[in-house]
Assembly symmetry: C2
Homo-oligomer: 401 residues x 2
């Protein structure tokens, strides 16, 4: 058949994480236990209030809801922001189908096909997908493991701004690096956005995941750019409810909000039941976050200590999220990740990691890196790091030989 797909249908990459799935299945078939640190799927049970809301609060005709979300959802999210010092009103909240849709709508609102958005790589791989949806070009600035993946000086960043640049996209606490950006870094981004007339898209879905008493600064705390920030958020990680697909966009820019509302009208509404569940979750408050935070901090420490026991690993202790991006003494993270599943086992166990290159837009970048998601209990994290250390030594492409 001669008929051909669109170029973007060809260009859109397979998920660099999900492509290892067949090899994981093979390993399991051989009876090998796989410690899964490859995907940001928390193991924390979804709080019961979510399920109770699905049991009790649904109308007999499950009709369309408002495109901007249920009023109770908008109120619950606004109250959450107010409780942490971010002054959003309910009318500035737009319910979205996960943080995914918030990011996609933000891209649509600021950029036409062919326009550019500056991102810091390594970055959340699905930014590539949303950019392809929207026909937008991601222009990456490469941050480095050596300095904890922090941002460059303004002069370096400004070199990437062109007449087609429409926004800078930041994510803190960061997936995949775990880096928490400092207030000074966010101010630099904000000032550059002001001076060069850009929007700032801020992905803050890991806001509660910061350790050692650190409180991540929201882009919304940088007052002089508040009216050009598009905040993207989600209940997926905050409440271990990834399968609910509920997120939100929030902005004080009325023009952006109105255009996002119209984008939202085209897809009608997010799921009603899941919003009911989310409303309940936003009632949980600080005790819940604190308990989850303590658990993840212990896991981070276990993972980081284990990594530090491997010779020639390059990474700094991350302050947030539940990821760590590490440069290993290996030839190629893709081959290493696959080899861990197909050829390695110790005590009939192995470990599954995400290859680093998939988190970069620059070809050839991140080849020696892997991302670890510490979504297992601390004891399992420790064992997984023992396996990783052993594997790095015996891997045929090891640079330790």
């Amino acid at each position: 058949m001669s008929i051909h797909l669109s170029q973007r249908a060809i260009d859109i990459p397979p998920s660099p994480i999900r492509k290892l799935l067949p090899f994981e299945l093979e390993a399991k078939k051989r009876g090998t236990h796989v410690y899964k640190l490859n995907i940001g799927q928390p193991d924390i049970p979804t709080p019961e209030g979510f399920f109770r809301a699905l049991h009790t609060d649904l109308p007999p005709v499950l009709g369309y809801g408002p495109s901007q979300g249920l009023p109770e959802f908008q109120r619950a999210v606004a109250q959450y922001y107010q409780s942490i010092g971010i002054p959003f009103e309910p009318g500035e909240i737009m319910a979205t189908i996960g943080g995914s849709e918030a990011l996609f709508f933000a891209f649509l609102a600021v950029a036409n096909p062919g326009d550019e958005i500056i991102v810091f790589e390594p970055f959340y791989t699905n930014y590539i997908g949303f950019a392809i949806y929207a026909g937008v070009k991601l222009v990456p600035y490469t941050t480095r493991a050596e300095n904890g993946f922090h941002l460059p000086a303004r002069e370096e960043l400004e070199k990437l701004v062109t007449p087609r640049t429409r926004a800078i996209l930041v994510c803190s606490p960061n997936n995949p690096t775990g880096t928490v950006l400092t207030r000074a870094e966010l101010e630099m981004v904000g000032q550059l956005a002001l001076d060069r007339d850009l929007f700032v898209i801020s992905d803050e879905v890991y806001r509660e995941f910061a350790y050692g008493g650190e409180v991540p600064t929201s882009m919304m705390a940088i007052e002089q750019v508040r009216d050009r920030v598009i905040l993207c958020d989600s209940i997926s990680k905050r409440f271990s409810a990834c399968g609910a697909r509920i997120g939100n966009l929030a902005t004080k820019n009325a023009q952006v909000w109105q255009s996002v509302l119209r984008f939202g009208q085209a897809r009608l509404c997010p799921a009603t039941a899941e919003q009911m569940g989310a409303i309940s979750l936003y009632g949980l408050g600080q005790d819940y976050y604190e308990q989850v935070r303590q658990e993840y901090q212990a896991r981070r420490d276990a993972i980081f200590e284990g990594l530090m026991a491997i010779p020639r690993v390059v990474c700094q202790k991350p302050h947030g999220a539940f990821y760590i991006m590490a440069q290993l003494p290996i030839d190629d993270g893709d081959r290493f990740a696959q080899w861990l599943l197909t050829d390695f086992s110790s005590g009939n166990e192995t470990v599954m990691v995400a290859p680093g290159a998939g988190f970069y837009a620059t070809p050839g970048a991140g080849l020696q890196e892997i991302r670890l998601a510490y979504v297992l209990e601390s004891a399992k994290c420790r064992r997984a790091m023992e396996l990783l250390r052993e594997a790095v030594h015996v891997y045929p492409g090891s640079l330790l030989k």
Copy 2:
């Protein structure tokens, strides 16, 4: 502030249906009862199995599901198709967030920004939104109330094909016209697609809604084009579950399916709970459809008879869906629809309709038309048509004077 939005953020139109909401609220505040025939929101209760599935079938950690949908969902949908003679396998089904996302992914898979898709106007307004998401140009062929909004001869249609045409989009039974396309019409579209190397995107979300014993032909029944059909479907209307946001795409074209899977990986997955509910709904079978069909047929008859009692109305009795598009003796459907809410009432009652122009891409088309969704019981439909008849006579822009 000088910062400006993207052109598409400005271009995306507000929902022509939802923009009347403030006037409806005003009417209600005055104590006027509003018969709502403006939106395709069924009043039929969502079957109980849907809610039961949400109560019983959820895992304690509501994690990400597969991007293509739960295997049980794919199987349930494939069985449904097989039961009506459409030979889809589970691996050819892709779960989507409503029919909306199925259409959007179909647009992405076949067209690059600037490419063209041929549509028959009047059409479902949200096609405009998905086209703006994807940067795709909709090229409309205008069908007419006089001949029941049926398709033109091939020669007429072929005039719209250009080197940038990538697909023809058909919807049968049709929203907003209620028209059921004949097998001959679908064959004509299929043959044109074959000859000019185009895809066919087929929106069949109203498949069960056809009256008088008519069984709508699926585009998949046209065997010679099966490998270039992208079927878009949804549980919203079929099971009165609009707020669930569960639909599916289905295609025998493996390249299309693989690219749609990659588009789907970027947004991770549709909501797990809602898929569980949908699986239960697909177990309902023909008895359920037959009962719903009888109810809607009575409503259609009530609406159509009421319309025929209005002088100089142009419309043919529609065979399917739950819509009717009628040309009225009025100056402007937008003004008329608003006037019904702001200035008209009889016995303290009025009727809410959707202005026709919003269903056309051609400027100035459909100005005298309205769309009625018969989503109220027959007695209410009859009363609403009495109100409409009275209104058409006293409306200041009436052409009956």
